[in-house]
C-alpha cells in the first residue's frame, strides 16, 4: 500500500516536470518571440566579473553599466558565486538561457570556460573578455587593461629607480597559478635581461595566495630570510596591501611598489620613511569596464568582428584599434598603466 503511494507520488513528480516542460516548449516559441521583439528595441549586454564583493570588480562593472545604459542598452551585471571557473560556467549558461546579445567576461581561468563560451558564440552571442583573458578559441577579442610588456617595463623601472640601481629585491605575487600575475612576472624577467638591470638581484618570487594572513607570513619570511633586501614588488592588490602594512608597521627600510588600488593603498603611499610605498601603478578599472562596454556594443552592432586591424570609436574615450595579442587571438589595449604617487593619490583614493 505504502509502496503504491510512494510510486504514485514519484510518478506525479515526473508528470509534473514533463507538464511544466511541455507547457513551456508549447509556449516556447511565444516566449522566444516576445523576447526577440523586446530585443529589437533594446539589446541586452552582460558583464561577468571574477567574484562578488570586490571593489575592483565592482568598479569595472560600474563603468560597463554606465556606458551600456547611456547608449540605450540593457545591462546585466553577474557575479559568480565564487572566484572559480566552475562558478562562471554556471553564470554563462544562465546568460545563454536568457538570450543576451553579448557577454563580456573577466575570466577566472584562461581555458576552462571554453566549452561554455563556445556554446554562447554558437547561440549567436558576442563574446569578449576584459581584465583577464580566455584563450583565443573562446573569445572574439580581449580588452586588455594595459599591455603585458608595458606593465613589466613600468614595474622594472620602478624597481630600478627605488633601489637606486642595485641590490636584492623580491616579488610577492597572488597564487602561483594566477595567469595575469605570471604573465607580468615573466615580462619583468624579460626586461631584466637588459644590461641596465644587471646589478639587481631577484632573490625570490613568493606567493601570498591573495590572502592577507598568508601574504603577511610571506612578507615576514622575506624580511627574515634576506636581511639585505631593498625592495618588494607586489603585482597584486591584496598582496601589496598586506606587504605595505607589514613594512610600514615594522618601520622597515625595505620599500614597496607594484600594482594596487589607490583607495586601499592611500595610507601607505608617501616619499618619506614613514610610508612604505613611494609609488605604484594600476589602471582605471572604470575605464576598463567602459571600454569593454563599447567593445560589446561594437561587436553586437557588427561594427567589428574582433579581427586584427579593425578600428572603432569608444565614445569619448577615442578611437581604438584591434591588435594581435600574440596568443592567436586579438586584443584592444586600454593604455599604459597609471602611476600613483604622493602628489595624486589624494585625488584618486576616493574614485576607486
Amino acid at each position: 500500500m505504502k509502496k503504491k503511494v510512494l510510486s504514485a507520488l514519484l510518478c506525479t513528480a515526473m508528470v509534473a516536470t514533463l507538464a511544466a516542460g511541455c507547457g513551456s516548449s508549447g509556449g516556447d516559441s511565444k516566449d522566444g518571440e516576445a523576447a526577440k521583439s523586446d530585443d529589437s528595441g533594446k539589446k541586452t549586454y552582460a558583464i561577468v566579473t571574477k567574484a562578488a564583493g570586490n571593489p575592483y570588480n565592482e568598479k569595472e562593472a560600474e563603468g560597463f553599466q554606465e556606458v551600456i545604459e547611456a547608449e540605450g542598452g540593457e545591462c546585466i551585471v553577474k557575479h559568480p558565486e565564487a572566484a572559480t571557473a566552475d562558478a562562471q560556467v554556471s553564470v554563462i549558461q544562465s546568460l545563454i538561457s536568457q538570450g543576451v546579445d553579448s557577454i563580456a567576461i573577466a575570466a577566472n581561468d584562461e581555458n576552462a570556460l571554453q566549452a561554455a563560451l563556445e556554446e554562447a558564440m554558437d547561440a549567436g552571442i558576442k563574446v569578449s573578455c576584459l581584465d583577464s583573458k580566455v584563450n583565443a578559441d573562446s573569445r572574439m577579442t580581449f580588452v586588455n587593461q594595459a599591455g603585458t610588456k608595458e606593465i613589466g617595463q613600468a614595474l622594472m623601472d620602478a624597481v630600478l629607480d627605488i633601489t637606486g640601481g642595485e641590490g636584492q629585491w623580491a616579488i610577492l605575487s597572488a597564487t602561483s597559478q594566477a595567469a595575469n600575475q605570471n604573465a607580468w612576472i615573466e615580462a619583468m624577467k624579460e626586461v631584466m635581461t637588459d644590461e641596465k638591470y644587471s646589478k639587481l638581484e631577484l632573490v625570490e618570487v613568493a606567493y601570498g595566495d591573495d590572502e592577507p594572513q598568508k601574504s603577511t607570513d610571506q612578507t615576514l619570511a622575506l624580511l627574515q630570510k634576506y636581511p639585505d633586501l631593498k625592495l618588494i614588488c607586489a603585482p597584486t592588490t591584496v598582496g601589496i596591501n598586506a606587504a605595505a602594512k607589514v613594512l610600514q608597521d615594522e618601520g622597515s627600510d625595505v620599500k614597496l611598489t607594484g600594482l594596487g588600488l589607490p583607495s586601499e593603498m592611500a595610507e601607505y603611499i608617501g616619499d618619506d620613511d614613514a610610508h612604505s610605498c613611494p609609488y605604484m601603478y594600476l589602471w582605471n578599472p572604470i575605464d576598463v569596464g567602459r571600454l569593454g562596454a563599447y567593445t560589446s556594443i561594437a561587436l553586437v552592432n557588427g561594427d567589428i568582428t574582433g579581427a586584427e586591424g579593425e578600428t572603432f570609436t569608444a565614445g569619448d574615450m577615442g578611437e581604438y584599434t584591434i591588435t594581435d595579442a600574440g596568443d592567436g587571438g586579438t586584443e584592444i589595449i586600454l593604455g599604459p598603466p597609471f602611476k600613483f604617487e604622493p602628489s595624486n593619490i589624494d585625488e584618486w583614493k576616493d574614485v576607486y
Binding site: L9, T17, G21, A85, S90, I96
Partner: protein, 336 residues
C-alpha cells in the same frame, strides 16, 4: 534502549520510520513541483530545453551525492571529494593531452578518483580512532596540492583534443547523456541501499557501530568499499565536469563536498547516521538544481542564493522537528 536518542534500530517500530520518511519524500515532491512552478513564473526562460542545457554541471554533483549519502548514513563525512574531483580532472586532461586513446583517458579519470577514495578508506580503516572529517581534511589539502604541483605555474590545463569529451557531453534529443547516467546510477545506489544485505549493514553500522561489529558485520570492509566508491563517483563527476570545462585548474571542484552533503541532508539523510533514504536525496538534488537555475536566470545576487540555500537547509530539519515536538505534546495533553 528507550530509543530516545534515535540510535537504536531494533526497538523503533519499522512502520514509524517508514511513515515518517514517506511523508518527508512526499513533501519534497510537492516542494519540487512548487519550485518548478515558482521558477517558471519568475523567469520566462525557465523551460525544459534551457533547464536541461544548464543541468549537466550541477548533475556532476549529484553523482557525488549518491555515495555521500552512504557515508552520511554511516555517521561519517568526507570533505575531500572536491579535491578528488580536482585531481582526477587534472590527470584526465593531462592524459588526454598525451594523446592516449579516449577510453584510456576515461580509465585514468576513474582510476585516479578511485585511488583517492581508496587512500581515504585505507587510512580510516587502519586508524579507526581518527575522525573522518580531519582525515579527509588532510587528504583534501594533499589531493589539491598534488594537482597544484602537476599543473605547475600555469595553474590550469586545457584539452588540446576535445573530441572524446564532446562525445560524452552529447544529448539524446534535448536530454544530455549524463541525465540518464544519473538516473540509472541513482536507481542502482538506491536499490543496493534499500534491498541488499550490504545496504542494511550500512544502516546497522550507522545506528550502532559496536552492535553491528558484534553482530558479525565486517564494519571496516564496508567502510573501505564505501569510501572507495565515493572516490570512483568523484572520478566520474570529474569526467563529466571536464566535458563541461574542457580543462581543469586548481579551483576545479571547489565546494562540491558541501553541495553534495547539502543535497543529501535536504533529502532527509541524517548526518548522525542510520537514517534516511536515497530517494529523498535524489529528489532534493533536483529541487536544489531547479532553485539554482531559476534564481540564476533572474540574476539574483549569488550570495543571496547561498543565504536561501542555507536557510532551506536549516528549516528542512528544524520544521519537522518542531512539528514532531508539538505532536508529541498534543498527544501527551490528550492522554491526560
Amino acid at each position: 534502549m528507550a530509543g530516545k536518542s534515535g540510535r537504536s534500530i531494533s526497538n523503533v517500530p519499522e512502520k514509524a520510520i517508514r511513515k515518517n520518511i514517506l511523508s518527508w519524500e512526499g513533501m519534497l515532491v510537492v516542494v519540487f513541483i512548487l519550485m518548478v512552478i515558482f521558477c517558471r513564473s519568475i523567469s520566462p526562460n525557465f523551460h525544459l530545453e534551457n533547464v536541461l542545457r544548464e543541468m549537466p554541471k550541477y548533475l556532476a554533483e549529484a553523482f557525488i551525492m549518491l555515495p555521500m549519502a552512504y557515508v552520511l548514513i554511516l555517521g561519517e563525512i568526507d570533505i575531500s571529494v572536491g579535491a578528488t574531483v580536482c585531481l582526477s580532472a587534472t590527470m584526465t586532461c593531462m592524459a588526454c593531452n598525451k594523446e592516449l586513446p579516449f577510453i584510456a583517458v576515461v580509465l585514468v579519470c576513474l582510476l585516479v578518483g578511485t585511488a583517492c577514495g581508496l587512500i581515504n578508506g585505507l587510512v580510516l580503516t587502519n586508524f579507526t580512532e581518527l575522525p573522518p572529517m580531519i582525515v579527509t581534511l588532510a587528504t583534501q589539502i594533499i589531493f589539491r596540492g598534488i594537482a597544484e604541483i602537476s599543473l605547475g605555474s600555469g595553474g590550469s590545463v586545457s584539452l588540446t583534443n576535445t573530441d572524446g569529451f564532446r562525445m560524452i557531453a552529447g544529448k539524446v534529443g534535448i536530454i544530455p547523456y549524463i541525465f540518464f547516467l544519473v538516473v540509472i546510477l541513482a536507481v542502482i545506489f538506491a536499490v543496493v541501499l534499500a534491498k541488499t544485505t550490504f545496504g542494511r549493514s550500512v544502516y546497522a553500522i550507522g545506528s550502532n557501530r559496536l552492535a553491528a561489529y558484534y553482530a558479525g558485520i565486517p564494519v571496516q570492509r564496508i567502510r573501505l568499499i564505501i569510501y572507495t566508491a565515493l572516490g570512483f563517483m568523484s572520478g566520474l563527476a570529474a569526467l563529466f565536469l571536464t566535458s563541461v570545462l574542457y580543462g581543469a585548474n586548481t579551483t576545479t571542484g571547489n565546494g562540491f563536498e558541501m553541495d553534495a552533503i547539502a543535497m543529501a541532508v535536504f533529502g532527509g539523510i541524517s548526518t548522525a547516521g542510520g537514517k534516511g533514504r536515497l530517494a529523498g536525496g535524489i529528489i532534493s538534488a533536483f529541487v536544489i538544481i531547479m532553485l539554482r537555475i531559476g534564481l540564476g536566470q533572474i540574476n539574483m545576487n549569488p550570495q543571496l542564493i547561498l543565504v536561501i540555500l542555507g536557510a532551506l537547509l536549516i528549516l528542512a530539519v528544524l520544521l519537522p522537528n518542531i512539528a514532531g515536538e508539538l505532536k508529541v505534546k498534543k498527544k501527551a495533553a490528550n492522554t491526560k
